[in-house]
């Protein structure tokens, strides 16, 4: 018996839609969903993290350590006991802020890669204010001044890139990257001369006065108020993006520049506002690390914090509240990796690979969940 065929006088075969011509052999094809639910986004992140852990396991094995032992050490170093968990929050504090700074700008489709530089601008502003106006009382007012100056410094440094972008269309990715280098040289100059502590050969300032130390939350941990400030800013950023007209414009700009222009948004002005706020958040991160942890200005108070913030923002799918969770996870990863080095001898630099791999696997997974497999029968 041959397969039933259409009678010659039957209805003509329906015209094939161009899409069905993309059918794969075996009668299936990928169809893009019009809408990706937040649950699927979450699934993508989980999928990406699992893939990243698998790749990490391979790396660990290649490095000659046991997978179980290494992951155990990673967890212990991150969240194993109360001390390590609090220390993880200490590491997460600046990451929450640099992550928010990146997420906020990326939402508007503005690629602020300058979080690192704006962090330093903020730290420098904070140090300058504390050094110059350290006598201000009451102390809370002093801290307001320190953090406000840091925010302004971060915003100002970011504004170089945004004004150039708004006025001349200069690519902000490249300008912000260049500005990261420039500010480190400026800081290096200041620490080598005008700001250098007279009693040291190192590139560092004098230790700050005790009353400029950001208070700690618990007496037995380094965790300081900067963490609470960071979480509060995350909530504010979330509300601004989701509930205000500025947030509406920002998201609109991020989705479709042309549409935003037609809608009447002053795009140039919006770019400058978004970058200033983004830079301000990164600047606050700098002030928090300076007054909460380091208490003196050095070149290594941020090692790639700005860049890790970019990873965090993207892994968190640019959601401000998810940034907090992701930053805590990354803080744990950083501290855990140090413990892995102690226990297994695998260099702590492993954490950089995990960060990069996680970002890539999450990005790929996020695209994957946007598609569904359609079999021939269900084709419309």
């Amino acid at each position: 018996m041959s397969a039933p065929t259409r009678p010659p006088d039957g209805p003509p075969e329906p015209a094939r839609s161009p899409r069905s011509s993309l059918m794969q052999p075996g009668g299936w094809r990928l169809q893009k969903r019009l809408y990706t639910s937040p649950l699927r986004e979450l699934a993508a992140v989980i999928l990406g993290v699992i893939a990243s852990l698998a790749i990490t396991a391979v790396l660990v094995t290649v490095s000659g350590a046991g997978v179980g032992e290494s992951f155990r050490a990673l967890y212990d170093g991150a969240f194993g006991n109360k001390d390590s968990a609090l220390e993880t929050l200490v590491s997460a504090t600046p990451l929450i802020l640099t992550g928010l700074a990146a997420a906020f700008a990326f939402r508007a489709g503005i690629w602020n890669i300058g979080g690192e530089g704006q962090f330093f601008a903020g730290a420098m502003g904070a140090w300058w204010f504390a050094d110059t106006f350290g006598g201000i009382r009451p102390v809370p007012l002093l801290f307001v001044g320190i953090f406000l100056t840091a925010a302004l410094a971060g915003a100002a440094w970011a504004s170089i890139a945004s004004v150039l972008k708004a006025r001349y269309g200069t690519n902000e990715i490249l300008t912000t990257v260049m500005l990261n280098f420039v500010i480190l040289f400026i800081l290096s100059y200041l620490l080598g001369g005008p700001w250098r502590s007279p009693d040291t050969f190192y590139f560092q300032t004098e230790r700050m006065a005790d009353n400029t130390f950001l208070p700690r939350i618990f007496s037995d941990s380094r965790l300081h108020w900067g963490f609470l400030i960071a979480v509060a800013i995350a909530v504010v950023v979330y509300l601004v993006l989701s509930r205000t007209s500025l947030g509406f414009d920002i998201r609109g700009l991020g989705i479709n520049l042309t549409a935003a222009e037609y809608k009447g948004t002053n795009v140039g002005r919006l770019i400058v506002i978004v970058m200033a706020l983004s830079g301000a958040i990164a600047g606050i991160a700098g002030a928090g690390e300076l007054t909460g942890i380091h208490h003196q200005l050095q070149l290594d108070i941020a090692v790639d914090l700005g860049f890790i913030g970019i990873i965090i923002a993207l892994v968190a799918r640019l959601n401000p509240l998810a940034v907090v969770v992701t930053a805590i996870a990354f803080g744990g990863l950083i501290n855990g990796a140090t413990n892995v080095q102690v226990v297994t001898g695998i260099p702590a630099a492993l954490v950089r690979v995990i960060q990069g791999v996680t970002l890539i696997t999450v990005l790929v997974a996020a695209v994957a969940v946007r598609y569904r497999v359609v079999t021939g029968k269900r084709d419309e």
């Binding site: 200069t170 490249l174 260049m178 990005l363 790929v364």
Partner: protein, 315 residues
């Protein structure tokens, strides 16, 4: 002040100009080809770093610089394959993909370096014997010019040779013109029956190999060392050079020489007792990059579909 500009100073600066321009030129020419196919590969800095490392590692282990160059090219190609996969196949936002790969490349090089060269004392920095300068017979004996242009590393000659080669390729060959058409209008090229994605892969991988070679120049010709900051922003400056050069190999060449000259001058000035903070001199190339990007705003030669993912049948 006036006695700084001696013959020796100027000659030294000009010799360094060509040397410093080499990695910029290699990476920027590679990026030119990738961008011509419509794919913006922002991961040059990371690719260069990984290439510098894989090249260094293999040269160190085998004591063969040529195998090192091969490994650097392979490292660059591997990075580029991931980029092409993300950009051309999965169609992730190319800015995001490039940033991600940058982070991975630098992280991987850093981790691998730490794993491979663990435990050595700080006095015993691992190093390789660098490539020797290659003197072009006869030409190198011309006073001044011989020393500046014809006593350089072979990678420098290779980079300079690629300037006309890529001009010919992109402007006079069928394949090159088709590649540029993909960068402008992938749909039209697709309709002519040319498979877009494999060609984008080829272009990006070529760019990755060139960035890997730029890394090899840094670790195997210039310093004989590897350290995680070896690229020191050169990958980003190379990206700026492509824009600055208006997607033309000749102008990219001129731009690279210009940056080489600036960098060489500031390096030479540091060696003199001039009363300028060296940090401000070091910042100069980065400040100039910003100024160059602001001054050169002509985007008319940019590939029209640059960084826009091509989805077949979705318009």
């Amino acid at each position: 002040m006036s006695d700084i500009w001696t013959e020796g100073f100027i000659l030294g600066a000009l010799v360094s100009t060509v040397r410093i321009a080499t990695p910029l030129l290699l990476a920027a020419l590679g990026e030119l080809v990738a961008e011509s196919s419509g794919i913006l590969n922002l991961s040059i800095e990371g690719t260069m770093t990984l290439g510098a490392f894989t090249g260094f590692l293999v040269a160190f282990e085998t004591e063969n610089l040529w195998l090192g160059v091969l490994a650097a090219a392979a490292g660059g190609a591997a990075m580029a394959l991931i980029m092409a996969f993300m950009a051309a196949t999965v169609k992730i936002n190319q800015v995001v993909a490039g940033l991600a790969l940058n982070i991975l490349g630098i992280g991987l090089a850093f981790f691998w370096f730490r794993s491979s060269f663990q435990g050595g004392s700080s006095l015993d920095i691992p190093n390789v014997k660098t490539f020797q300068f290659v003197e072009i017979p006869l030409l190198s004996s011309i006073p001044w010019v011989g020393e500046i242009l014809f006593t350089q590393h072979w990678l420098t000659y290779f980079a300079v040779l690629m300037v006309p080669v890529l001009w010919l390729f992109l402007n006079k060959t069928r394949y090159g013109l088709e590649l540029r058409s993909i960068g402008h209008n992938p749909e039209a090229v697709d309709m002519r029956g040319i498979n877009v994605v494999p060609r984008q892969y080829a272009a990006v991988v070529f760019g990755g190999i060139m960035a890997g070679l730029a890394g090899a120049f840094l670790s195997l010709a210039s310093t004989g060392l590897f350290f995680p900051q070896v690229a020191a922003g050169r990958g980003w400056i190379a990206l700026a050079l492509v824009i600055f050069g208006g997607w033309r190999s000749s102008w990219i060449f001129i731009g690279a020489l210009f940056f080489g000259l600036i960098d060489a001058t500031q390096l030479s000035l540091q060696a003199t007792d001039i009363d300028l903070p060296y940090q401000l001199l070091l910042a100069l190339p980065f400040v100039l990059t910003i100024i160059a990007l602001v001054l050169n705003r002509d985007r008319s030669r940019s590939p029209l579909s640059l960084a826009i993912p091509y989805h077949r049948g979705e318009r």
